[in-house]
């Protein structure tokens, strides 16, 4: 029965995703049902944001967690875009002022 085999395979992938201390730790921090940002999931751990993101992707692939988007207010959006410009202009300044 191919469908039963597929179901088993899916379950095995879930357990494989869970079979890692770091990922179990992340999952434990998500059990209160509230969405948590990468920053919050990273704080208090020795992991980098990149590492946390990688582990979340593995959990996502197994269907154990998912990412949610946040619609932010207009002011926050503009502040975000504004920071991107500050960063870009700082790079431009470094480029044109280098000897």
């Amino acid at each position: 029965m191919p469908s039963a085999a597929a179901a088993l395979r899916a379950r095995a992938s879930v357990f494989a995703a869970l079979g890692d201390e770091t990922r179990l730790g992340l999952l434990a921090r998500l059990t209160n049902g509230e969405p948590q940002s990468i920053s919050r999931l990273t704080s208090g751990t020795r992991l980098t944001r990149q590492a946390v993101t990688k582990h979340l992707r593995v959990l996502e692939g197994a269907g154990v967690v998912h990412s949610v988007k946040t619609i932010i207010d207009a002011q926050t959006y503009l502040e975000h875009v504004s920071r991107q410009w500050d960063n870009a202009l700082a790079r431009l300044k470094a480029l044109v002022e280098e000897q």
Binding site: L78, W85, V96
Partner: protein
Amino acid sequence: MGDRIEKTIELKAPVSRVWKALTDHREFGTWFRVRLDGPFVPGGVSRGNIIYPGYEHLKWEAVVQKMEPERMFSFTWHPYAIEPSTDYSSEIPTLVEFTLEKTATGTRLRVVESGFDKLPAHRRDIAFRSNDGGWTMQMQNIAQYLGQHA
């Protein structure tokens, strides 16, 4: 919602140098973090790829508006059009204008990006998900997987 972002920066470099950094597509790419396919041409579409870490899968597209040598450079684009599957072409783009002015020490560069009030609210769903998004546990999935074997 505020309509615009304005920035002014003093650069210790001659206007000609700043102009080149803005309008040479390779130089523009190094500080804007985009790899462009070809030179900027007024009225032309500029295409390329974002090379900002984490967003390398995204295309970059802008329409060059004005190129007044050593004075003004402008283009329109869809800011943070970061969902590869979304067609942004029906949205009103924002306008980015760079204005250069000679000063005693170099160049005063003014950047204005305007038109944010025309952006649909859902576009603020910017999904900079590494920063502002969140992650949740799909409890029902786990329950389902575990429950079926309990």
